[in-house]
């Protein structure tokens, strides 16, 4: 078995013990990217010399020598981010982004840049200047977006961990579609420096994508620059709501998520409470309007008139439509944000976590990313965002955890949200859920992940 097939924490431990040579591990990661990436287009650039230099200078930190992928949303000292697009409205340049510094200081090696949905503006990953990333569970299906490449890279076990970014669900969607654990941290808790919207965004955060919660805890600790200590989720009070986010859901997804909630309750000796959270649809729209308004940074009419011709027509149309959004709706969105923050603060006095499916249906086809729900046919973007935007609007942390496979052998995921600063509780709860189901779903391997036979022959 290759050390590359170990979990992130096991890789780090093997290197620390001297059982694994990090230079060999880096070479293995590069070889595996060369071997497997053509099928999934998850990694859009490698830079072996830079990775080698990073490893040579790496401190003996908690991630010493571990190869990782970062989303094309984060600048590196040798590479400006492209945001999955032909160009950005804001100028970009190579730089030491916050996630780069966090990984460097923890001793990690950045082995490649992960693909992403063009301009971060989609939950599927089916549009990118690099071409779409593909889902390792079924390469004709969407990997999820916008952190499509980081998720696909981990699900295919090119690396054991990756750094994404989440502005309206962009860590959680690909985690759900690819069968991974993905954490959207509390706003402001994880590294953001160097992001081209860092100074103006009130929604975007960096976040880890890994196979399981313990690996997210390790990578998240680097991104947070603080130890995300393991705690106790005993007596967990789980809030569920009667709302389309939990009820207008594919029957297989609903069944798996309801079973997972019951498993979590049983494992923690907790309780399930039905709670009320009105106006979720309008809160979702408020988040969409706010991030679209923030995305206009640098968008003068003159600039909008000379968009790069290789930006997709859909993106060009949406970018220009943003300029027509009424100011009154943006102001109203800010008031709705306050309203929802206060409602959540009150709600989290009664429950520890809120639970509903991360996405209402499994990964749709790349060629036609539509989903069938009890309410009818929807675009995946429309269906997905309604369960994710609340966390970005209000700043609370949220995690996506794999809880099953559909009859088509595609991952199903449950989302848990908690009060501000309780990221650690979400990791504790995710680990409790893993224990409850015997780690069956976090250890499930996609067809593109390495097998023992292939590894032995490698």
């Amino acid at each position: 078995m290759s050390a590359l097939d170990l979990s992130l924490r096991e890789q780090a431990a093997a290197i620390a013990r001297g059982d694994t040579d990090p230079a060999e591990l880096l070479d293995e990661a590069l070889a595996r990217i060369e071997q497997r990436n053509p099928a999934i287009n998850a990694v859009v650039e490698t830079f072996p010399e830079r990775s080698g230099e990073m490893l040579a200078a790496a401190p003996k930190g908690p991630l010493h020598g571990v190869p990782l992928v970062v989303k094309d949303e984060w600048p590196l000292p040798w590479r400006a981010q492209r945001f999955g697009a032909a160009e950005l409205l804001a100028p970009t340049a190579p730089a030491e982004s916050g996630p780069y510094r966090a990984l460097r200081d923890a001793g990690a090696t950045i082995v490649g840049v992960g693909n992403m949905h063009e301009l971060g503006a989609g939950s599927t990953g089916n549009t990118s200047v690099y071409g779409p990333a593909r889902n390792p569970w079924n390469t004709e299906r969407c990997p999820g977006g916008s952190s499509s490449g980081p998720a696909a890279a981990v699900a295919a076990r090119l690396v054991a961990g990756a750094v994404g970014a989440d502005g309206l669900g962009s860590v959680r969607f690909p985690a759900a579609y690819c069968g991974l654990t993905g954490l959207k941290p509390t706003f402001g808790r994880s590294a953001m420096a160097g992001h081209h919207m860092a100074a103006i965004t009130s929604l975007i955060v960096s976040g880890p994508l890994c196979a399981d919660a313990a690996d997210c805890r390790l990578l998240g600790s680097a991104l947070f620059d603080e130890s995300l200590a393991a705690g106790d989720a005993s007596g967990l009070r789980i809030g569920v709501i009667r709302d389309p986010v939990s009820e207008d859901v594919d029957p297989e997804v609903r069944k798996a998520c309801e079973a997972a909630i019951e498993d979590l309750r049983g494992e923690t000796g907790g309780e399930v409470r039905e709670v009320s959270l009105p106006d979720l649809p309008v809160a979702t729209l408020a988040a969409i309007l706010l991030i679209n308004a923030e995305s206009l940074n640098g968008a003068t009419p003159e600039r909008l008139n000379r968009l790069h011709p290789e930006i997709s027509p859909i993106a060009r149309g949406f970018i220009k439509y943003r300029a027509l959004l009424p100011a009154a709706a943006i102001v109203q969105s800010a008031r709705i944000r306050t309203m929802m923050r206060r409602r959540l603060a009150a709600l989290f006095a009664d429950v520890d976590v809120l639970a509903w499916p991360t996405v209402p249906a499994v990964a749709p086809p790349l060629e036609s990313p539509m989903v069938e729900l009890p309410s009818g046919t929807h675009t995946a973007d429309q269906a997905n965002v309604r369960g994710a935007a609340l966390a970005n609007l209000t700043g609370i942390p949220s995690i996506s955890v794999p809880v099953g496979l559909s009859s088509e052998q595609l991952p199903i995921a449950l989302q848990l949200g908690a009060a501000w600063g309780r990221d650690e509780l979400l990791l504790d709860a995710a680990e409790a859920l893993e224990r409850a189901n015997g780690r069956r779903w976090v250890e499930a391997l996609s067809p593109l992940a390495p097998t023992e036979t292939e590894t032995a022959g490698a």
């Binding site: 509390t186 706003f187 402001g188 808790r189 009130s202 106006d279 649809p281 309008v282 729209l285 408020a286 969409i288 309007l289 009419p301 003159e302 909008l304 008139n305 027509p313 859909i314 060009r316 149309g317 949406f318 220009k320 439509y321 300029a323 027509l324 959004l325 009424p326 009154a328 709706a329 109203q332 969105s333 800010a334 008031r335 709705i336 944000r337 306050t338 309203m339 923050r341 206060r342 959540l344 603060a345 989290f348 429309q382 209000t394 700043g395 009060a419 501000w420 600063g421």
Partner: protein
């Protein structure tokens, strides 16, 4: 007047007033976006939030004060 009809006026007029040019494909995308978002935006604007006291310089990393 339907949203689609209003879009025929609103989008070209809005773009023209801002000096933003758009080709036919971009206009088609904008019309589709308008049809999708505008009714919901009107619902959002009509929500009574008069009782919501705004947060002053909200710290999104923490619960509201």
């Amino acid at each position: 007047m339907e949203v689609s009809e209003r879009a025929e006026e609103f989008i070209p007029a809005g773009l023209a007033s801002l000096g933003i040019e758009a080709d036919e494909v971009e206009l088609a995308v904008m019309n589709a976006a308008h049809g999708m978002f505008w009714p919901a935006i009107l619902d959002l604007l009509s929500l009574d939030t008069s009782g919501v006291e705004p947060e002053r310089q909200p710290d999104l990393s923490k619960a509201p004060r």
